[in-house]
């Protein structure tokens, strides 16, 4: 969930690319399932060390973990939305607009028909936006970015117009917000939760840190959150282990080859983009129904774009995407929990992680990138040493700066679907 894990993961996914030159040592560069526990362990140790040195207890408190989860879920869902569309070769910049449709329709339906109907309506609202994007990009061959930008204009406009029609006049409602709605139910794992929370209070090195994080994850968690988390393995299984997923991804890699094998590329692209809209709509419904209990204008706050960032960070794969969403959610959450000191403390952890990362690069004789990482590490540690707090505005920028850094440092290893963003027309292969 923290920096180290994600950085090593990104640096290790190079072999996915067919054009990555001679596959020298595929076994070592690929992040396998075996490295995940190691990464988690190192991350936990780093966080514990940082907490003990700086005394910033909120780094691993159950409160932070719970908040991180709540903040990470919409990013995660938006990232999955991007993943589904881009794996089929359609770039979806319109996620933000589709999320807005999800927030609005979720709240509107939940008002009279209960929270679960609201969740479903959110999905449908987003899917409707996805359908529009599919009509423009797939049927009419409009540039994907242009259509996405148009959707981002359209989504908030539609939500505002409809709010003016249906929310004004109701108690607490207006052009910019809906009345309050009921939230979907939450669960707390009995026994486990209270045990972990009492362990956390002792502030023992390591043990309390892990207990705090786990405790936060199993206390007062929404069922929608659980559903969202399960969608990660679900997406992986569907996209990578089923014939349907193989065909869908083939539309994103080489639609003309897929066409020649009898795949109905238009149909698959339509399905993928509509699913993408559905995920984005769910992300929106999560914001208006779970993270808060009413629709509000600008509720999405650019999370569609952060989701896109998480997807790129995760190299267009579900696991990496989840790691990115977790990292961005965690950075967001710390801001809420004694923000300035917590984030400042995190600098130390980040610096230490970079030192380890640089060391591992040097061990693998990648001196150039290792050198850059080492310089960055020194810079971060110096920043920690010579400042006392980090202005809140800079913490907000964490996801974006991280994405720029990942793109800069690892752009050669990132591999997006080969035909991503290309306009495909049946029978025009050249």
């Amino acid at each position: 969930m923290a920096q180290l894990g994600s950085l090593t993961e990104v640096s290790g996914t190079g072999t996915a690319g067919p054009a990555a030159g001679p596959a020298a040592t595929p076994a070592r560069r690929r992040v396998g399932w075996r490295t995940v526990p190691l990464v988690v362990f190192v991350t936990a140790v780093l966080l514990s060390v940082t907490r003990v040195i700086t005394g910033a207890n909120d780094l691993t408190s159950s409160g932070s973990a719970g908040a991180a989860l709540r903040l990470a879920v919409p990013i995660l869902l938006a990232g999955l939305a991007g993943l589904w569309a881009e794996r089929a070769g359609v770039v979806n910049i319109g996620l933000e607009g589709m999320m807005v449709l999800g927030t609005w329709s979720g709240a509107y339906v939940a008002l009279d028909h209960g929270p679960w109907a609201g969740v479903l309506a959110g999905i449908l609202g987003g899917a409707l936006g996805g359908l529009l994007h599919a009509v423009a990009t797939v049927t009419f061959g409009v540039d994907h970015i242009v259509s996405g930008v148009a959707l981002n204009l359209l989504g908030p406009g539609v939500a505002r117009f409809l709010s003016a029609l249906v929310f004004t006049g109701r108690q607490g409602g207006g052009v910019t917000q809906s009345p309050q709605v009921r939230q979907p139910p939450t669960f707390t794992v009995p026994g486990l939760s209270s045990g972990l929370l009492s362990l956390e209070k002792h502030h023992w090195f390591g043990v309390s840190d892990v207990a705090g994080i786990l405790g936060g994850l199993v206390t007062g968690t929404s069922w929608v959150t659980l559903m969202a988390l399960l969608l990660v393995p679900f997406s992986f299984v569907v996209l990578w282990w089923t014939p349907f997923g193989l065909r869908l991804r083939s539309c994103g890699e080489n639609p003309y080859a897929a066409e020649s094998l009898g795949v109905n590329v238009y149909l698959y692209k339509y399905l993928a983009v509509i699913c993408s809209g559905g995920f984005a709509g769910l992300a929106g419904a999560f914001l208006s129904l779970v993270a808060s209990n009413y629709y509000r204008e600008d509720q999405t706050g650019g999370r569609g774009f952060i989701g896109l960032a998480a997807m790129i960070f995760g190299n267009w794969r579900p696991g990496g995407l989840a790691a990115g969403a977790g990292l961005f959610g965690y950075a967001d959450a710390l801001q809420l929990r004694q923000g300035e000191t917590s984030v400042h403390a995190l600098l130390l952890g980040f610096g230490l992680a970079l030192v380890l990362f640089a060391g591992s690069l040097f061990a693998r004789r990648q001196r150039a990138v290792g050198g850059v990482a080492a310089v960055l590490a020194l810079g971060v540690l110096a920043l920690y040493q010579f400042t006392d707090t980090i202005p809140q505005q800079f913490t907000t920028a964490t996801p974006y700066v991280t994405t720029l850094l990942v793109l800069t440092l690892a752009s050669q290893r990132l591999r997006m679907p080969a035909a991503d963003g290309h306009v495909y027309r049946k029978g025009t292969a050249r």
Binding site: A136, P391, A397, Y400, L407
Partner: protein, 378 residues
Amino acid sequence: MAGLTARLDPWRIGLALAAPLAALVFSVALMSVVLLIAGHSPALAFGQMADFGTQPGSVVQILDKSAGYYLSALAVAIGFRMNLFNIGVDGQYRMAAMCAAVVGAAVTLPPVLHVGLIILVAVVVGALWAGIAGVLKVTRGVSEVISTIMLNFVGGSIVAWMLTPEVFAVLQGNNVTTRPIPASGQVPGIPFLGGTVYGFIVIAALVGVGYWFLLGYTRFGFDLRATGLSEPAAVASGVAVRRMVLSSMLLSGGVAGLVGLPQLLGASYAYSLDFPAGIGFTGIAIALLGRNHPIGVALASVLWGFLDVSNQILDLNDIPKEIVTIMQGTIVLAVVIAYEVVRRVAVAQERRRVAARLGDDGPAGSGGPGPVESAAVA
């Protein structure tokens, strides 16, 4: 086939005008349906908007608004002509306006010099902020779409930080604002229809003329358009594409830096919490609607300003004025679809014409789709 004869072909001019008109008619029709469903009279709504939007006071407001829109759309259009997608105009102009406001308030200079310095700061900051995306694209192959989106948010954070009382701002009642720019750094308004419009409109128009000349009549402009139409062809004819990417990104960012200045130097004289945001995205819509043409973009900016200003009358009739936002979104989507349809029609037309001239009864595509298609796009 190319050249003047193709340019003056009435069939093609008709096609070029058909798309935006069709999109406009479509969105008006769609809005009428929406209004009818919501129980309002479309005739009343559009009639009121036309009445209110053509009153002298409204016309002044419309022109004021369209100055920023025009600059923003030109910044986007420079990228479009090169096949570069500068989504970052929003972040670029806000960074630029913020820095320009701070520098402008900090120095005292004779009138013209002062304005010149403020403009210079804005252009340089905008260009630098866009340049980051350019450098990343050229050196690391990072897509400018992603990097400019990220830079928008990073720029937003930096502006928010600069706009705190600990850094450059002062509290003023409920508002947080930078210190005001003294009179020597302000651009006086131009009397028009009983009101005054921003003097910066003149500079915006000059930028438009510069854009038209640069792209149409200089080697740089030719290289830029050639790269946008076909990168391999441009490389083959000796264009240094990487240098072109960087310089057009800098140019686009430089123009983007000007976007906030009509407002900053003509009305607010300071950067505050309520400084207009989102003009960068509006610019994308306007550039698409105006087809990257300096005059088309100007017409589209005025249309956008008209919709923005004239919708205020709707609330008085209990019609939600947000209908106009939907209308703007619909126009963009409809116009890009219409352009694509028109392009396909034009390509089919050309193929038929070429096939007829060759006396060839073979398959329609044998006329060489490559060059014909690119000619239809240009």
